[in-house]
Symmetry: C2
Subunit: 133 residues, 2 copies
Amino acid sequence: MDIKVTWQENMRFDGVGPSGHVVNMDTAPAVGGEDSAARPIELMLIALGGCTAMDVISILKKMRTPPQSLEISIHATRAEEHPKSVERAHLAYTAHGVPEDNLRKAVDLSHERYCSVSHSLRTKLETSVEALP
Amino acid sequence: MDIKVTWQENMRFDGVGPSGHVVNMDTAPAVGGEDSAARPIELMLIALGGCTAMDVISILKKMRTPPQSLEISIHATRAEEHPKSVERAHLAYTAHGVPEDNLRKAVDLSHERYCSVSHSLRTKLETSVEALP
């Protein structure tokens, strides 16, 4: 997979991969940016959430119990010293209209077998699930 | 750092972190998506490129040799079997108007000390630099 990241101006960068959809990045004014787009470290964690969320929806559909909603809240803990890597992340999955056992199974399958982002990370991951009526 | 990823419809997801900038994700029609936005694995690699690109610009500015342009081409190799994690990535940095030694030093400093995304990845990274007039 080939990705190109190009400097625009100041701290603004564009990235694009095989899909052709351009993604903007920027940083905070305090560190020289203009706050025009998400930060790279946010993108990495959003990618983690999106990857496992897609797995969970696919698996729940295959189980014939698609949820009415799905939300993942990620709480990430970063090292205090540079490079401030993301050492741990807790992913809390909340879904409406799906049996909790199925949600738990889909989340486990995603992290054990399918999610390419979680398997590309060094970050220690923990998960919890909440199935609401 | 807290991130929220929310299922919209089909395979479309939104993610948002502390900056408040919403990032969309989708997948290809072949796997049930609508191709309306970048894939999660692309976002992860774009995040990697953006993170180290911001470092390189900052460091080159501190060296008083800001480049006229900067582009990073990432060639990522994924495992063939699920979870198809990104096992290796080569990052080729091309900049105009900067001494090659400074570019090399900035790239090395980014990966050794500053880039939070590269230090959060399990992926083996290699780099090369090209400084053009």
